[in-house]
């Protein structure tokens, strides 16, 4: 193995090109994946800082460290960055880009230049978002949902922020289109559909959601821009427009977008759990079907964001019922993962811990989703901290922890190096504890009536708000420790073998890091290599 790992594979750019140019102009899916990874992690850091400062402001009632207007800008930027620049692209465009062709036994994606273009478009969107924050005028203060009529009337940089989201949407569409075609056309001819790795399945299902949902948000945001620039007024009640129509159009995309965020996370968990249980995954077929079922049903539930906005009773109970339907395939997956662990030869290592963290936190997030989805309780908890806690349990406790699990699992393959496992485990403990201390009190606060996005609160809520802020310190400490561990691993790590975890999957049958062409000789997926 040592001879193999001595090469730097794709990290030595062909033609001896070096430096940033060899990355930005590369069409190698692995290099583009790494570019996306660094970009999303950079913005994750930025979004985390905003979140951290907001928690600090909320440690005591009244003004603590910032003005109310600054706070409004901060929760908007936190949301816009985390949703559009981090969570949506984080798994598909980075880890998906890197590992989809490897898992399929292909040499690249179907359209390598489109792949590079999608990163450029992403970078353009990021630049626009940056201008929205710091250009003249004021940073946007609408919240990431850009609800009308406020988003049309406020004089902050909403136009720029909306354009940024619009541009990022096109990047997401191109990625999805590319991956669907890759799966259909470049999958190893010997790999049957129902033999495709679960992570690839999840990226495939996600790609369909990206292609079929994103255009709707694109045109909706375009209308917001036109309202602001050309007084189109299609959502302005004075001109006969309907603000509720905006909400419908917004959520027709933005609810499926939740599945763009969570389905690939589930794909990572479906790879990590079996790898560290020494078993094949339990109920492969059920996981595939539930992945597709979630992607499909996810289109039909957007109305549950609008139960209190004004809809007919029929519409409300239909949306509520469909929302409960989505819980079924999600539950199927959780049972499958737990059943895979059952009687397995469990190796408690860092990636597995993060995956277990995912199952625990995602279950809480998922079950509280049912509280939101039920009509009666929704009226009590709508627009309160309960909702904030719920989606952070799903998006951060779920997707965030899955990203960390995936990063730790595939780190040796991507870099050819091993990180030190011990600090990664300490980081997990800090993060897991900090996460629950930060977000669990929000369930209680929300239940007691604390509205989301408020700058101030009554004195009675102080102790729980304080507790929540203290949690954010542990969480941030854990994130920093993990980042340091990985960066140290990147620089000083010991060389990794081709398959350090004895895992299945074609990506482990090439050297770490893989050569530019992925495989010296394309592997045969029908031959199962013995797991050592």
């Amino acid at each position: 193995m040592s001879a193999e790992s001595a090469t730097r594979g794709y990290l030595d750019a062909p033609g001896g090109a070096r430096g940033l140019r060899s990355w930005i102009f590369s069409t190698d899916h692995k290099r583009i994946g790494v570019l996306y990874l660094w970009s999303t992690m950079f913005f994750f850091g930025a979004g985390t800082i905003f979140g951290f400062l907001m928690r600090l402001e909320l440690i005591a009632p009244g003004r603590t460290i910032m003005k109310a207007q600054t706070y409004n800008a901060m929760f908007t930027l936190h949301g816009v960055i985390m949703i559009f620049l981090v969570v949506i692209p984080a798994i598909p465009a980075s880890l998906g880009n890197f590992f989809l062709p490897l898992q399929l036994g292909a040499r690249d994606v179907a359209f390598p230049r489109v792949n590079r273009l999608s990163w450029w478009i992403y970078a353009t969107g990021a630049l626009l978002a940056f201008f929205a924050m710091f250009a003249g005028g004021h940073p946007p203060d609408t919240g990431w949902t850009f609800y009308v009529p406020y988003s049309v009337r406020t004089d902050t940089n909403v136009t720029l922020a909306v354009l940024a989201a619009l541009v990022l949407g096109f990047s997401s569409i191109l990625t999805g289109l590319n991956f669907i075609t890759t799966v259909h056309v470049l999958r190893s001819p010997k790999m049957k559909w129902m033999k495709m790795p679960l992570f690839s399945w999840s990226i495939y299902a996600t790609a369909w959601v990206q292609v079929l949902a994103t255009p709707i948000i694109a045109v909706t945001l375009l209308l917001i821009v036109l309202e602001r620039v050309a007084n189109l007024g299609l959502f302005d009640p004075v001109r006969g427009g309907d603000p509720l129509l905006y909400q419908h159009l917004f959520w027709i995309y933005s609810h499926p977008a939740v599945y763009i965020m969570i389905i690939p996370a589930m794909g990572i968990i479906s790879e990590v759990i079996p790898a560290f249980s020494g078993k094949k995954v339990y109920g492969y077929n059920a996981i595939v079907v539930s992945t597709l079922a979630i992607a499909f049903a996810g289109y039909l539930v957007w109305g549950h964001h609008m139960f209190t906005s004004g809809m007919s009773d029929t519409a409300r109970w239909v949306f509520s019922f469909l929302t409960f339907i989505v819980a079924v395939p999600s539950g199927v997956k959780v049972f499958n993962w737990v059943a895979t662990l059952y009687k397995g030869a469990i190796d408690i290592s860092a990636p597995l811990l993060y995956a277990l963290g995912f199952i625990f936190l995602f279950s809480i997030g998922g079950l509280t989703g049912l509280v939101n989805g039920a009509l009666a309780t929704n009226i009590q908890v709508h627009d309160t901290y309960f909702v904030v806690a719920h989606f952070h349990y799903v998006m951060f406790g779920g997707t965030g922890f899955a990203i960390f699990a995936g990063l730790l699992y595939w780190f040796p393959k991507m870099t050819g190096k091993m990180y030190r496992p011990f600090p990664a485990i300490i980081a997990f403990i800090l993060m897991f504890a900090g996460f629950n201390i930060l977000y669990f009190p929000m369930f209680i606060l929300g239940w007691m009536g604390m509205p989301r996005r408020y700058y101030d609160y009554p004195k009675g809520f102080t102790s729980l708000q304080e507790l929540s802020t203290v949690g954010s310190w542990f969480l941030v400490a854990g994130i920093i420790l993990l980042a340091v561990t990985l960066i140290r691993g990147l620089r000083h790590g010991t060389p990794a073998s081709a398959n350090p975890w004895n895992a299945r999957g074609l990506e482990w049958r090439t050297s770490s890091p893989p050569p530019t062409e992925n495989f010296d000789e394309l592997p045969d997926p029908t031959i199962e290599e013995p797991v050592r």
Partner: protein, 205 residues
Amino acid sequence: MTETPRIPRASRMGMWLFLFTEILLFGGLFLVYAVYRRANPEAFHIASGELSLRFGAINTVILLTSSLTMALAVSAFERGLVGRCLRFLAGTAGLGLIFLGNKAVEWSAKFAHGLYPGNPILEARPAGEKLFFSLYFAMTGLHGVHVLVGVVVLAVTAVLAGRSARADAARVHEKYGGVVENSGLYWHLVDTIWIFLFPLFYLIS
């Protein structure tokens, strides 16, 4: 049928997926149109009378003809008649430009009559008519942008197809055949969207 080679298969599939996203993009606007027309049938009926049926009909004929020339360009390329293909591509792009010219004349007439959002003449009218004109500008505007992009795509396609006249025909066909076919698909989609826009705006008065 022989097995299609992988790369043309990929480019065709990618193009169809892209066309799906285009349909959905316009689909959002058609949805907005449907909601507002249902709420304001009378006003839409009256406002539609302000549009020039003659211009709309001529533009429809122009665009449909351009679809014919596009199809002829694709089939000429298939048969290896590159010169013929280039002439038809030029014809298609020319018809696209004429369409855009007509559109510009039409829009400026609306502007001259004060029928645009923000102008006091339109603002004095009932809400439903204001919505009609906002939708008219948004939808025909987005469609016009697509025609413009289509003309640029046709120009690029012509350059690529032209190269094949000067090289080994079979190899070039393998390389660029998909490009001609795909730009044809895009052009037909843009036409198809107009076929829906025309009755929805011009024929409801």
